[in-house]
């Protein structure tokens, strides 16, 4: 069986086209549908500061949908990249911020920052973001320590077991916070279910910066991730500084998840589903898998956001609800496949 059919430049070109198409689709379709020509005109004229022609609703395009679409794409790309890296690092196709409980840990951090009013002076989201990142990293360390104590090979079963236990712990901590401060119930619901509605350019710039920095680091470690995906012992034998690389990838991953959660709350399963599907297309080699996962994650989340906005229109679903529905089914499918492969 041939596995790694050449995934070439043409493949990336297709990904770029699909991403652009998905972004345009998401800008055009919504409670108010906008013709494609108007969308393009509005974007073009805004970019070059040209006057807007009659009948083009530039406001909704440029100030509502464009920032949202950018945020969705960036968060999707980040979560997907993180998932791909975690699945390689832990050599487990079910590892991901949400299955491990890292995302819910991060949202717990964000909620604690909100309820107790932890802020960083001079910033809008600094406190929430920092707490989300710190809790993401703390959760990851805690979960992996527990899982290692259970069995050193970090088998699928122990990861899932620990993830379930940790998520239960987090949800009870959330309930506790809700009963302590019920004026925050609505915002807590936001953090647990995830939504990118009403996000702005500032947030997009922030997640773009995080993605640029953290993403470059992860791409730099593509070869090491291949070694880990083959086996941690093997990685050590061929000369990978196992402890250092693992720590760097885990920290970088937590930062990315923390940023994503502080912008959009817990959006489950993106990091699980898209790397898995991408691996089926480009193969497991992280040099191709990581960049390809960026695109597929962005496209997947854009489509999920589109469904969330339109399926029960005018009521808008939380995006996390949509990704969880799709993700839960995919999770079961992957789980059964990995069990059968044993």
């Amino acid at each position: 069986m041939k596995t790694t059919d050449r995934f070439s430049r043409r493949g990336y070109a297709l990904f770029v086209l699909a991403l652009l198409a998905a972004m345009l689709l998401c800008i055009c379709v919504g409670s108010v549908s906008i013709p494609l020509s108007n969308t393009l005109t509005a974007l073009w004229n805004t970019l070059w500061r040209l006057p807007m022609p009659q009948g083009v609703s530039a406001n909704i395009i440029v100030h509502v949908r464009l920032p949202r679409v950018l945020n969705v794409a960036l968060v999707g790309a980040s979560l997907s990249l993180c998932g791909a890296a975690m699945q390689g690092l832990l050599r487990n196709p079910l590892a991901d911020g949400s299955t491990l409980g890292v995302s819910s840990g991060a949202s717990l951090g964000a909620v604690i920052a909100l309820v107790f009013g932890i802020t960083i002076p001079g910033t809008d989201y600094g406190g929430v973001m920092l707490m989300a990142m710190a809790f993401a990293f703390g959760s990851l360390v805690l979960i992996l320590t527990l899982a290692y104590a259970l069995d050193r090979s970090l088998s699928t079963n122990s990861i899932i077991l620990i993830g379930v236990i940790f998520s239960m712990f987090v949800s009870s901590a959330m309930s506790l916070l809700i009963s302590m401060a019920d004026e925050h119930v609505r915002s807590i619901a936001f953090w647990t279910m995830g939504s990118l509605s009403g996000t702005n350019f500032k947030q997009a710039a922030l997640s773009a910066a995080a993605l640029l920095i953290c993403g470059s680091v992860l791409l730099r470690y593509a070869r090491e991730l291949n070694a880990f995906a083959i086996g941690e012992d093997n990685a050590r034998h061929i000369g990978v500084n196992v402890r250092r690389v693992k720590l760097i990838i885990l920290i970088v991953g937590s930062v990315m998840i923390g940023v994503c959660v502080s912008i959009g709350g817990t959006i489950s399963f993106v990091g699980l589903v898209t790397p898995h599907m991408t691996r089926m297309i480009v193969g497991p080699n992280h040099r191709k898998l990581l960049p390809a996962s960026l695109f597929s994650g962005a496209i997947f989340l854009l489509l999920a956001d589109l469904v969330a906005r339109t399926v029960l229109s005018p009521v808008e679903l939380n995006i996390g609800v949509v990704t969880s529905l799709v993700g839960a089914v995919a999770f079961v499918a992957i789980f059964y496949r990995t069990r059968k492969a044993r």
């Binding site: 069986m1 596995t3 487990n92 730099r220 070694a227 086996g231 492969a341």
Partner: protein, 251 residues
């Protein structure tokens, strides 16, 4: 080339290897022999810095702990006892990773020498035809040969092999052991291996360390170590009689 000095490995209360010292010189093939649970694989993992240990391994006079991971891997190649891959990497990708310690960075796909080494390693282990195959579809023997090719591509000076004959059919057992013996003929090389098959140990080993419950029972040249008395003590049975009995089936 390699000196082990007072190596002790403990898992909690349990001592797996106790105060073990030995030397491995250039051109030697040292066989680690002993029954299950003697501490052979643990010792190998200790050299590969995979388990914490007390004592010192000196590689060409330098404490192996002070070497960086890539520096160590350029000198020491390890074939583990168990190799399983979770994702559908191709044979070539797995073998190519053996060049990791010799190249660095995202863009350096491989030096010219590296490509040649990978080709040689694939050819030597009979894996050239299967180079594009997914490792998930390989048989146990093919997988073993894939990882052996990876170690050859790594081009170390010291080969450490934990049960290299694992999963190999007779043709490849003979082929691979001869291959390793040829590899050893180049100056500046040495082999340390765990082998359960005492006949293979006797045939190919120049030296041996006989272990029992983590302690060294005897060490020296293979013939002097694998004596009837020593083996009877460690295996608690007349090994010589058993081996002759097996052989007599072929008369």
């Amino acid at each position: 080339m390699l000196r082990a000095e007072h190596i002790t490995v403990r898992y909690g209360e349990h001592t797996v290897v106790e105060d073990l010292s030995f030397r491995l010189e250039e051109g030697q093939w040292l066989m680690l022999v002993g029954p299950n649970g003697a501490g052979k694989s643990t010792l190998i993992e200790a050299i590969a810095q995979g388990v914490p240990y007390a004592g010192t391994f000196l590689l060409e006079g330098r404490d192996i702990r002070t070497l960086k991971a890539a520096q160590r891997a350029r000198k020491v190649g390890v074939l583990a006892q168990k190799n399983a891959v979770g994702y559908a990497y191709s044979v070539e990708e797995v073998v190519g990773l053996g060049r990791y310690a010799h190249t660095s960075g995202f863009l350096s796909a491989g030096d010219g020498e590296g490509k040649a080494r990978v080709e040689q390693a694939l050819a030597a282990t009979g894996m050239t035809k299967l180079r594009h195959a997914s490792v998930l579809t390989l048989s146990g023997g093919e997988l073993q040969r894939t990882f052996l090719a990876q170690v050859f591509a790594q081009n170390p000076q010291l080969l450490i092999l934990d049960e290299p004959a694992n999963h190999l059919d007779l043709i490849y057992q003979k082929h691979i052991f001869s291959l390793i013996r040829d590899w050893l003929r180049q100056p500046g090389r040495a082999v340390l291996s765990v082998v359960h098959d005492l006949s293979l140990a006797k045939k190919y080993g120049t030296h041996a360390v006989l272990l029992d419950k983590g302690r060294c029972v005897s060490q020296g040249e293979t013939g002097a170590v694998l004596t009837q008395d020593n083996l009877a003590r460690v295996y608690d049975m007349d090994v010589y009689a058993w081996m002759r009995d097996l052989l007599s089936q072929w008369r």
